[in-house]
Amino acid sequence: MKLAIASGKGGTGKTTVATNLAVTLAGLGQTVTYVDCDAEAPNGHLFLNPTLSEERRADRLVPRLDPERCTHCGACAEFCQFNAIAALPARTLIYEELCHSCGGCARVCPSGAITETTQPMGVIRLGEAGPVHFVSGTLDVGVATSPPVIRVAKQAAPPADWTILDAPPGTSCPMIETVRDCDYLVLVTEPTPFGLHDLALALEVAQSLSVPCGVVINRAQPGQSETHALCRQAGVPILAEIPDDIAIARAYSHGRLASEALPALRTVFARLADRLTAELYARA
């Protein structure tokens, strides 16, 4: 089962849910792979402390121009949808940071002046965090687009009963790349106006991708009923509520897994694991 943990708003507790859930499911005897897909700000390793077994570069393809062959005809620049090539009368310029690696320019060049060459974009790390297989993709600082790194990280994930994808915040390409082929989407939110606003956007994504989803409310406080109302209206189940407890924030600030630091939370995550199992097998 491929499970993505996403949010819309940042800092609502995606990594907290993803890492604790990974450890909880592994504790139940399931095989689990945790994949950190937040390639711009990956944090799962800080809480899972994996022993790394492999670290490899992830490269992308960018065009390289042979000035001897280029006639500056402009076919490549005209074809490129991303404005990554500018053809001037006597010069053709490539802006690698805008390139999406589609390979179109090399194919349309009539004089064979464009070849593709690899360029580093990030690092893929693999390891073991106790019984949990660990994979992460980290975008190099200064490289603009993280979806290609996320794609490679997902491909590198060893198969398991549960693949847990820790998604980046937001609702644009990096989030979509992470969640688009998952079996189930868990949206983590907090009961604040920002949390609610961005949850509504994330629910729109789930709907447009036709991915079944459920919500985890983090920092839940009694009497905050707007999130419940939104979920009811969207027909989406609330899978778990993690109480608003300064002790959880302190454990996090010390790099400790909440379910290990606070035994009371083990029940919360065990129930979440049960609930997800039920949701997924009900659909399977």
Binding site: G10, A41, E97, C102, G104, A144, T145, I176, R180, S253
Partner: protein
Amino acid sequence: MTNESPIFELVVLSGKGGTGKTSVTASLAALAGAPTLVDCDVDASNLELLLSPRLQERTAFTSGQRATIDPEKCTGCGRCEELCRFGAISATGPVNSHGSATCRVDPPACEGCGVCARFCPAQAITLHPSDGGAWFVSETRFGPLVHARLRPGQGNSGKLATLVRDHARKLARASARPLMLIDGPPGVGCPVMASITGATRVLAVTEPTPSGLHDLERVLALARHFRIPAWVCVNKSDLNEELTAQIERRATESGATVAGRIPYDSAVTAAQRQGVPVVEYGDSLAAQALAQLWKTLSATLG
């Protein structure tokens, strides 16, 4: 009132999401007096929730192209699937009236590069502009706000962030407002790079957690990459004083300037529920710290 009048562009970033960028930006907006405001977090924009904007202008945003396959023309040859670098095409389309299996585009995976359309031997594929949402100019009690709403699931957030920031720059120049305050997105990717390009200074808001520190270092590396000086402010600093001190040391070592600390304060969430910046929500420890932060920043702003 000329194009030459210098604008101080302060962009608020964090790396890690949820550290308080928007709450800090809104309070600085209230303290600064007559800034031009920009929300570059185009796919989860929250600044408007604290500033009660009155909408003045709306402009549609086209986020790029998407390919569609006409099943009647498709022969199911699979050339498009073979050429697509994004795994966006599969042989899962309907059987057409000629009895041929066809290919299908998975819209969220399509980046609109046009390779499939160009090389389809049956010319069955066309590109269509994709509705990417809209961007807005609004009026707030502190100054104009340029913001956007990327349609959920759309790409090109960097392009939209650039549009929004460029328009704000024009407004700032035209109105001779010397300060532009930009609420940035989390991470270090396209929309962050779009927000930081041409900025005068970065204010990095972080929190004393291992994630906060880890992601702050990445955002400071990005600021150095663009040669933009950075201030650092630790939010919820009393959550872990030891780590706060360590973050401030690391920030200083990497060439950034420590600009202040904001203690954990439930007034921040309470103000958010009221839809106002925390500095307008009575006297609180957070409000005092933000006033102090603004004093430090404005000394440099001149």
